[in-house]
Symmetry: C2
Subunit: 241 residues, 2 copies
């Protein structure tokens, strides 16, 4: 669903600081978003925006500057207002994560927009009421002062996860031992530990299930099972020598 | 579980730019985190850190400066290395969200640490290997350049959600209509629409279920049901006058 990412517009309404526009472009690019729309930016283009974009100059270069929120939202099938609280008569307020899921869902039909207000005051009421969903980043009620680009970062992160899933890069997975391998390891361990008098085979109490649980938590791979079996053999050799 | 937030240490190893330390403090405070630990910061305290903290001066003021990662991790029950890729012999690599869930879980036992490397190079291998979990923010493989404070923001956001749940501020919920209210609305609508010839009651086709679906999606509140019933009454009056 990576095509959905190309349909997400990040709309900044009346941004004051060009540095925030640059940092927004960077935040977008890290998450694979490309469509930046600026409604009446105070200063743009600007060297400070370029500097803060940290090589997301392609996103900045493709940014669209428009004169009104209506222009920014033209053609979108969903507009989400990012807010810190709700408003009278406003559409439903959901979490950032829920909004991202809906945006990615609706992006199957066309462009969707996430709309961010000014650094100082957020969105104006008439801007909020033009949107069909309100979204809120859960935050400290005593200090909700998320920086503009950081709010974009969190939303873009949730959009990426909603579109592509939440996963780590593919890693060469180590080969895993089978049930039989593990049964052999446990039998070997029990034999050696009884042999050195670590526990009494007639009265093992909870020692064996506890060791079994420890080993289960470690989720051994094949190589690690071989290492432990080798260690047990060393103990046996020392004992017999 | 807000006490868990107090047990999360954000550890910055060798941060180069004081502005990033300030922006980190701000990101932490927005999510309710308070423990900042700096390992050999290049410049701290610094006016630029104060400026970028945007009133999170309390977090900056309480920051602990230490000389080694060992000191930063002393007493923690879990140390998570934030990385962009995995390393040979390294502990398990999980997503940022999974790491946050484990950190909040383990914070029941004691302090937990999220460790961030330098702006330019991330964490050194020996630092990564001191941690017991690796965590990765899903990002654009062609451009993984998350700013330090933005990475902290995303992790702190996931920590907050893991500790406190993902929800919007409490809103005065409008009273909802009952099943019976809705049945009356549908009957009224059907009667009026048949009366004005909008559909043929003998052959309504899919019009009624379609209207029912539309109304279900709108999830009407009691007030909205009253408004629609009033509208239907107005139509009836006009027809009869």
């Amino acid at each position: 669903m990576s095509d959905r990412l190309a349909r997400v517009r990040i709309v900044l309404s009346h941004p004051t600081h060009p540095g925030n526009i640059g940092a927004t472009a960077r935040a977008m690019k890290t998450m694979g978003l490309t469509q930046l729309v600026l409604v009446n930016p105070k200063r743009f283009p600007d060297p400070q925006a370029d500097a803060l974009s940290s090589n997301a100059l392609d996103v900045l270069g493709a940014a669209k500057v428009v004169g009104s929120l209506d222009e920014a939202l033209a053609g979108t099938v969903l507009a989400v207002a990012t807010v810190s609280h709700t408003y009278e008569m406003a559409p439903e307020l959901v979490t950032c994560r829920e909004a991202a899921a809906r945006a990615v869902h609706d992006a199957a039909s066309g462009d969707v927009a996430l709309v961010f207000g000014t650094e100082a005051n957020g969105l104006a009421v008439d801007e909020v009421l033009k949107c069909s969903l309100l979204a809120h980043i859960p935050s400290n009620p005593d200090y909700t002062s998320l920086n503009l680009a950081q709010a974009v970062q969190v939303f873009a992160y949730e959009i990426r996860i909603a579109a592509l899933g939440d996963r780590v890069p593919d890693v060469d997975r180590a080969a895993l031992p089978t049930f039989d391998d593990m049964q052999h390891l446990h039998a070997h361990l029990e034999e050696v530990l009884a042999g050195i008098g670590f526990f009494d085979p007639e009265n093992p109490k909870k020692l064996l299930p506890r060791l079994r649980r420890l080993i289960a938590k470690a989720r051994l791979d094949q190589e690690e099972v071989r290492i432990l079996r080798g260690l047990l053999n060393s103990v046996t050799r020392v004992r017999k020598s």
